[in-house]
């Protein structure tokens, strides 16, 4: 196998590819940690800011998955954020940020990746 296709070692199934994937990820993470760079920007991680229980800001979100009475699900780089509360209003929504106000009861990560 190695003889016929030496350049394709990375595409090997099983342990190799898996390891490669984890190596790549941890390298990026290590890199940002080494240089003390903001993780939310480089690693596509969301930044959640809660001011009391009334205002919440999610920077770097991906999309709004669900918006119903009393709950909201937002897709981010770290999985899905589920917010429950009363009178949840999207105060502002732009390409990268979403500001939610209302009375927040809970914030949970579901399907964390």
């Amino acid at each position: 196998m190695a003889k016929s296709n030496p350049g394709n070692t990375n595409a090997k199934p099983g342990k190799g590819r898996n390891r490669k994937g984890t190596i790549k990820k941890s390298f990026r993470e290590k890199f940002t940690e080494l240089l003390e760079l903001p993780k939310d920007l480089l690693l596509d991680r969301p930044k959640l800011t809660l001011i009391g229980c009334r205002d919440m800001m999610i920077e770097n979100y991906k999309s709004v998955l669900e918006y119903g009475v009393g709950y909201m699900r937002v897709k981010t780089g770290s999985g899905i954020v589920r917010i429950t509360g009363n009178n949840l209003v999207i105060r502002e929504i732009s390409h990268d940020d979403i500001i939610i106000s209302g009375t927040v009861h809970s914030v949970e990560f579901t399907d964390a990746g």
Binding site: Y67, I90, E92, I93, S94
Partner: protein
């Protein structure tokens, strides 16, 4: 603060409130965000129905998004300045008036309309106004291009009797502050020979010469200008030669100040009858326009004038003035005063007048009030006797 600005900005830009209904509202929101159509205050009404606000330009781009997501978009309300303007778009005169208002406000605010002079006690305000006008500062002049610093320098030279002047242009008002120069008697330098002369008439009470020769004796009556201490000292053994010195010393003298006030037994009081006439006029750019002017029906009257200037705050004065002249009809009533009261009143006035004549530094040692009758007229006379230093230096041969 941030939200207040945000709201003001949105009001100025104009926005719409919409209702979105459908099964894929989340999709609608996501697409709007991705296409940079700003949405705010997205509020869920009930399941599958939200209200949201968006800009006018965003609303124009919403149709394809709505079609793609299968949402129904309804317009609930239009808010903001663009809609207000749109409403008045056809009213050209309204807009012209609004524009004209701002132009006029600006034009009028760039002229000087009032001058406020303060700090002058002896100099007359009208005189200072004349000098200012000569230097180009007068009502009706464009306020730009006035070099206040150069004017201050020129004013100092032209008036001469001031020690300090400041000119500030505030709004449409010019504020001029003045400090007048104190008139101080000329001081003869120590090395120049001089005499000590009498400033005013009096009787010498005490004379002490520290330099020079005493020319008068204690108890002697002196006239104004008379030499009290002489700076000319005769040289011994010679009749003609004199040695000149700078005479110094104190000369205390008794002086008198008096004032006369006739005693009046009747007093005229002018009482308003309650009838009045009001004249209204408008002053535009120093031009007076009589709006309401009625004939004077009263034989005896007093006038009162009230002026109202159009101003914004204190400094922005505009050249419009509303003048109301009120004439009140009066009747004169003669009232007689008791003799003791009349005498007391006259005596008090005479005393006050005499007191004003007493110079600074003089000590009052006696106060006398007399009543003299002449041709049936009673007069109150106040005489104040003082002790003061009447010496004044004067150069020898000078005046």
């Amino acid at each position: 603060m941030k939200f207040l600005l945000f709201r003001l900005w949105n009001y100025a830009r104009g926005y719409v409130i919409i209702i979105v209904e459908g099964f894929f509202i989340e999709k609608f929101i996501n697409i709007c965000a991705r296409r940079r159509i700003l949405l705010w205050n997205v509020r869920i009404q009930k399941e599958h129905r939200v209200t949201a606000r968006m800009s006018i330009s965003g609303f124009r781009l919403i149709r394809p998004v709505a079609r793609k997501t299968g949402c129904r978009v309804r317009l609930l309300k239009k808010t903001g300045l663009p809609f207000v303007f749109n409403k008045y778009r056809r009213r050209k005169a309204f807009f012209a008036g609004a524009v004209l208002f701002f132009i006029l406000l600006n034009v009028l605010a760039s002229f000087i309309w009032s001058i406020e002079i303060s700090g002058n006690e002896r100099l007359e305000t009208a005189f200072i106004e004349d000098v200012l006008a000569g230097n180009g500062i007068k009502p009706g002049r464009l306020k730009y291009g006035i070099d206040t610093r150069a004017t201050v320098d020129r004013m100092m030279l032209e008036i001469g009797r001031i020690s300090w002047i400041s000119i500030n242009i505030r709004g449409t008002k010019v504020k001029v502050q003045i400090r007048e120069r104190e008139d101080i008697p000329e001081i003869v330098p120590r090395h120049i020979p001089c005499d000590v002369i009498a400033q005013r008439d009096g009787i010498v009470k005490q004379i002490i010469a520290t330099e020079g020769i005493e020319a008068v004796a204690e108890g002697q009556t002196v006239k104004k200008g008379q030499v009290l201490i002489s700076g000319r000292i005769p040289v011994k053994g010679s009749e003609e030669q004199y040695r000149h010195v700078h005479a110094m010393g104190t000369v205390k003298a008794r002086t008198w100040y008096e004032a006369e006030v006739p005693v009046v037994f009747t007093e005229t009081e002018r009482l308003r009858t309650g009838r009045m006439i009001k004249d209204h006029s408008l002053i535009l750019f120093s031009k007076k326009l009589d709006l309401i002017r009625r004939k004077n029906r009263f034989s005896e009257y007093t006038t009162e004038e009230t002026r109202k200037k159009l101003t914004i705050s204190e400094d922005l004065v505009f050249p419009f003035e509303w003048v109301v002249v009120t004439r009140y009809e009066v009747t004169s009533v003669q009232a007689s005063i008791r003799e003791t009261d009349a005498r007391e009143k006259a005596a008090e006035e005479a005393y006050k007048e005499a007191l004003e004549l007493v110079p600074e530094g003089a000590e009052i040692i006696e106060e006398n009030i007399y009543f003299t009758e002449e041709d049936g007229k009673l007069t109150a006379r106040a005489i104040l006797e003082c002790v003061e230093d009447i010496g004044l230096s004067r150069r020898i041969g000078g005046n």
